[in-house]
């Protein structure tokens, strides 16, 4: 290319014109990027790379307690450290931008170790030379279908709300599915220009069991011929969505005059596609023909998919390919067809990240030495665009989107996440109590709530870093980002799967981390822990003076409110199983209790520890599960470690239990104020199994009300919280500060 020296400027310039976001906000963390993969389809390019992110984390460190400390010295030290974590970046853009994008990447690519770029998709051949020339990387082609399946396995395993059912006329078009813990076997129907039907039985085992030549290419090609226009695929879909197929198709009622009752075929059923167009003396509109064609092809694919699903006895059928790719029109017609042919036995499932599967798969093939499948990954809500509704009526969001870039970022989680072994039915477990995607009133309320709370969060974030002058500026960026996310979720509640209070909280945590506010509450937590510790022995002593019955009540109240407020003094509570719990306590002790703890300070020190102490006294082992990373004022595993040591130093009961491993601390694997029992640290799961855990205690609003309120466990469980939100309390039939004390015993087999 002549005049290449000016290429950089020209590239950036043309990108500025065509891309709504500055390129460094799209191709993030390029400096450390390695292991590139690219999937070039008919109209969209998907780029994938692995990068490391350096960000700040709050660490706590115990002081040396051998030295006698003066009153007023802090309990432990908080330091902000740099930590490096792995992140996967996926970016989707129109093929038209390939060249400018490659230029940008080339200019920012520092890592010289990278030699190869994995490539897949039909366009990989076409752009091979361009990529090799621009990036100086060798293009290594990978088989399209194996990439697709590798990518599909990856998203199904790592993104909880990946799959959804599409319902055109429902309040929420997208109904997200809980992923079955065992994702195999499933059927993947990929509708590209033709159709491939693939049965996937395990990570490496899959087979193309069938296919059809009538696919997206048929719709496009035949559609272009029939409408005699030079149309794009999307335009053809748009035409179809405006048409009436009944003027072109021969329906059952055109032949019978009504329904064909004895066979249960309704009059509106299509008997013969294009059956009415076999005439020379009639003109048909483009829209009507396109609609008829769309029905014909969708029904045909649906029918074949059902035949194959039945033959192989599979009921999970995922649809993908450019024919589907988020188009409500085709998702609707395919869903309709599947319902018709299976009478509802099989549901058509679609994937939120369907467009990325090939790129993810190609990337994974190139990254095998990093063993990406050994880790659990989590979608980063701050860095991911989320699902857009690509309505054919081109809503404003969609219009704004064409010419922009879509992103997906996945964080490598430090721990492998698995199901809690004590879930009654892991495949039907839904963590969240309320689905805000479906409940418009609740959605309105919570979005408003989080928006209102934003000022406070920003202030707290700034206050947590008093020594850093640019904190205010970063906090402002955080505010903009989170507010924008809330705006997006208002328009597209389905953007990151089902919208829940948990996802709103998690999105906020992700955004805070993004702008290096790893733990805004660290100082507050420190202070509160410090104060509470001073009262520990006093509280324990006063509890010991009570009668057994009185003490049990005081312990429960302590859990609910840390004994400070008058909450919970008056019974009956909103949900009150206290009597059953006391009866149970009169019986044999539990073998082992798993306790998911909540807040720092009074809650953990004056509420949880005395309660734990009582359990230990009964001969019950206790496993305390706390967050791996910070979230609000929840106690983290690091903090709890120090607190336990300090309490052990004061209290011989805790001391001996801790020493003898009758009291154990584990990480939950989460950094959320809520709790997803299907994604917990593997170590926790092992400990729970080994110790024959027969009691699970979950405390606090986030873990016991917003999530897990309806969770069914295979052992006894206690869920307790004070509802500190009047709207939610009313929803549950109570008032603010109502108490929930749920004690559940699973049905005996």
């Amino acid at each position: 290319m002549a005049g290449h020296s000016s290429g950089t400027n020209r590239g950036s310039h043309s990108m500025d014109k065509s891309i709504t976001l500055p390129p460094d906000e799209i191709f993030r963390n390029l400096e450390n990027a390695k292991r590139f993969a690219i999937d070039i389809g008919g109209s969209l390019t998907k780029l994938a790379y692995y990068s490391t992110v350096q960000h700040k984390v709050a660490k706590v460190r115990s002081f040396d307690h051998s030295v006698k400390e003066a009153d007023g010295d802090p309990l432990y030290e908080i330091s902000v450290q740099e930590e490096i974590t792995a992140r996967l970046h996926f970016i989707k853009f129109e093929n038209a931008y390939i060249e400018t994008c490659l230029d940008f990447i080339k200019d920012h690519l520092v890592n010289t170790e990278t030699k190869v770029i994995k490539a897949t998709g039909g366009g990989a051949y076409k752009f091979k030379d361009l990529i090799e020339k621009k990036l100086k990387l060798k293009v290594d082609k990978e088989d399209e279908m194996s990439c697709l399946i590798k990518g599909c396995n990856f998203v199904l395993r790592n993104i909880p709300h990946e799959a959804f059912v599409y319902a055109k006329h429902a309040d929420s078009e997208f109904r997200f599915q809980t992923t079955h813990p065992d994702i195999f076997p499933y059927l993947l129907v990929n509708i590209g220009s033709g159709v491939s039907i693939v049965k996937v039985e395990s990570e490496d085992q899959f087979e193309r069991i069938g296919g059809s030549s009538i696919g997206g290419g048929t719709f496009w090609g035949l559609g272009a011929l029939l409408t005699k226009t030079k149309v794009k695929f999307d335009e053809l879909l748009q035409l179809a969505s405006k048409g009436q197929h009944t003027s072109v198709d021969m329906l059952v009622k055109d032949i019978y005059g009504g329904a064909y009752g004895s066979l249960g075929l309704t009059g509106d059923l299509i008997a013969s596609s294009f059956g009415k167009s076999a005439t020379a003396d009639k003109e048909f509109s483009k829209e009507d023909m396109a609609k008829s064609l769309l029905h014909m092809i969708s029904n045909d694919i649906g029918q074949l998919a059902c035949l194959y699903a039945r033959l192989h006895n599979l009921n999970r059928v995922y649809f993908g390919g450019f024919f589907i790719r988020g188009h409500p029109v085709t998702m609707h017609t395919i869903t309709y067809s599947i319902n018709f042919f299976t009478k509802g036995e099989v549901q058509a499932l679609f994937l939120r990240h369907e467009g990325y599967l090939g790129a993810i798969g190609a990337f994974l093939k190139g990254a095998e030495e990093d063993n990406p499948n050994q880790y659990s990954w989590g979608e980063n809500y701050a860095g991911s665009s989320g699902l857009m509704s690509v309505s054919p009526d081109l809503n404003p969001m969609q219009r704004a989107r064409s010419g922009t870039f879509d992103m997906l970022e996945m964080d490598r989680l430090e721990r492998q996440l698995v199901n809690l072994p004590l879930l009654q039915d892991p495949s039907s477990y839904i963590p969240d109590t309320m689905d805000l995607t479906e409940d418009a009133l609740a959605r309105e309320y919570w979005l408003y709530c989080f928006e209102e709370a934003l000022d406070g969060v920003v202030k707290r974030a700034i206050a947590s870093q008093p020594d850093m002058p640019e904190a205010a500026e970063r906090a402002e960026k955080f505010r903009q980002k989170y507010r924008h996310k809330l705006q997006t979720l208002r328009n597209q509640p389905f953007a990151y799967g089902s919208l829940t209070v948990r996802s709103l909280l998690d999105t906020r945590e992700h955004c805070l981390n993004e702008f290096n506010f790893p733990d805004p509450y660290s100082k507050i937590k420190q202070k509160e822990n410090d104060v509470a510790l001073r009262y520990y022995l006093k509280v324990v002593k006063s509890l010991e003076e009570l009668s057994w019955e009185q003490r049990q009540f005081a312990l429960v109240r302590g859990l609910l409110a840390g004994n400070v407020f008058d909450w919970g003094a008056k019974r009956p509570w909103l949900v009150d199983a206290y009597n059953q719990w006391i009866e149970r306590l009169k019986g044999p002790p539990h073998t082992c209790a798993l306790f998911f703890v909540d807040n720092s300070g009074i809650d953990i020190i004056l509420g949880v520890f005395p309660f734990v102490r009582e359990l230990l006294g009964r001969g019950t082992q206790v496993v305390l599960a706390s967050n791996s990373g910070p979230a609000l004022n929840d106690v983290t595993n690091g903090e709890l470690q120090i607190l336990t040591e300090r309490i052990a130093a004061m209290d011989p009961v805790i001391h001996s239990a801790f020493k003898e491993d009758r009291l154990t601390l584990v990480q939950s694997g989460s950094s959320s104020p809520c709790l997803d029992l299907s994604r917990l640290d593997k170590v926790l799961a092992t400990v729970v199994r080994e110790r024959q855990t027969d009691l699970v205690i979950i405390e606090g609003m986030g873990r016991a009300i917003h999530t897990n309120y309806y969770a069914m466990l295979s052992c006894e469980s206690l869920k307790l919280a004070v509802i500190k939100n009047s709207w939610l309390a009313e929803r549950l039939g109570g008032k603010i500060f109502s108490v929930v004390f749920k004690y559940e015993v699973p049905p005996k087999h």
Partner: protein, 368 residues
């Protein structure tokens, strides 16, 4: 036996075509002839002395079953068809010929028996005996197969279906026909699993049938009739229209055992404007025919496997004068099942419903 009075008809009113069978008694005695009313005689003469009726009615002379003995009478069975669009003219003719005075029962099947029932009543004072089309189809098929085709077998198949050079039509017997998968390709397609004369179920159906082929061909090429469409298709080349596996992968797609010559995307080349401008009407007609036929083959094969039936019998007027499709179906069954499935065809492809309705007339005559 109490014999049903003449004329003996059976009618199948489909979405596109009306199929009519007429029994012409050849053993009429002089006495009978004298008693025969004038309009009955004129109907017989009109039907048997012509091979075309009006603009669109046609008698398939080559299908005529001769010297058939049925219910004690001997005669010839004639096969006549006309477009369903001409139904009202047909009813008018019935009125003009004063058909209602003959006191015969008009046995009719197909959707049109329901749709036009009221028109028969009000326009021609005729009551239809409506019969289920799938019952009629199976009864008619079994009957014609049992009487044979004027001394020859009714049924045939293709030997060496996977070898275009040596693929030949061979007659065969359907002595033990059950279970069979019966694929009836009319305007749309119905697929039945038949276990005995009266034990069958409709497995599925598809709206991509003969009506789709003709409808699309009319839109794409401006042709007007099935014959015209087939004529064009016989001269065309579908590989100019369809995208083959080799067009995408440069050869076979070995990972999945797909041959380079397999169609990857029907009409796939037509996504490109240049290609759209370079193809002929004949190519388009051929591609339409191949697409529809392959799709029916594919669904039929899946049903056969799901229902565990090895014999697949294809009938319906889509197969009339359509060797491209019959050979393609024979090939598809053989190739994709690795020789496990056999495609069978019948000479009277589209007339079995009408024959079934005709048989029902005689059956009702046995029960006074």
């Amino acid at each position: 036996i109490l014999l049903k009075s003449f004329p003996w008809f059976g009618m199948d009113i489909g979405g596109t075509l009306v199929k009519l069978v007429y029994f012409e008694p050849k053993d009429i005695t002089a006495e009978e002839e004298q008693e025969e009313v004038e309009n009955l005689k004129s109907i017989r003469r009109y039907l048997t002395s012509n091979t075309a009726y009006g603009k669109t009615g046609i008698r398939d002379v080559h299908l005529e079953l001769r010297n058939l003995t049925i219910c004690g009478r001997t005669g010839n069975l004639h096969f006549i068809r006309f477009p369903t669009q001409a139904m009202h003219r047909f009813i008018q003719m019935g009125r003009d010929k004063n058909f209602s005075s003959l006191h015969t029962t008009l046995c009719a099947t197909g959707g049109g028996a329901y749709k036009f029932e009221n028109d028969f009543r009000t326009m021609a004072d005729l009551e239809l005996l409506k019969l289920d089309e799938l019952d009629c189809l199976i009864h008619g098929l079994l009957y014609v197969d049992s009487v044979g085709f004027n001394g020859h077998p009714e049924c045939y198949y293709f030997e060496n279906p996977s070898d275009t050079q040596n693929c030949v039509k061979k007659p065969c017997c359907l002595d033990n026909p059950f279970p069979m998968l019966l694929v009836n390709i009319g305007s749309g397609v119905s697929i039945l699993a038949v276990y005995s004369k009266d034990n069958y179920k409709r497995v599925t159906g598809t709206s991509l049938g003969g009506g789709t082929f003709l409808g699309l061909c009319c839109l794409l090429t401006g042709c007007e009739t099935f014959e015209e469409a087939l004529e064009m298709a016989s001269k065309g080349d579908s590989t100019n229209v369809d995208k083959l596996v080799k067009d995408i992968y440069g050869g076979d797609y070995e990972r999945f055992g797909l041959q380079g010559s397999a169609v990857a995307s029907s009409f796939g080349h037509m996504m490109s404007k240049d290609k759209r401008e370079s193809i002929s009407k004949e190519d388009l007609a051929r591609a339409t025919l191949v697409t529809i036929t392959n799709n029916i083959g594919s669904i039929a094969r899946m049903c056969a496997v799901n229902e565990k039936i090895e014999r697949v019998v294809f009938v319906g007027n889509f197969l009339r004068i359509n060797t491209v499709s019959t050979k393609l179906l024979a090939y598809a069954m053989d190739f994709w099942s690795k020789g496990q499935l056999r495609a069978l065809f019948l000479e009277h492809e589209g007339y079995f419903g009408a024959v079934g309705a005709f048989l029902e007339l005689l059956k009702s005559s046995e029960e006074p």
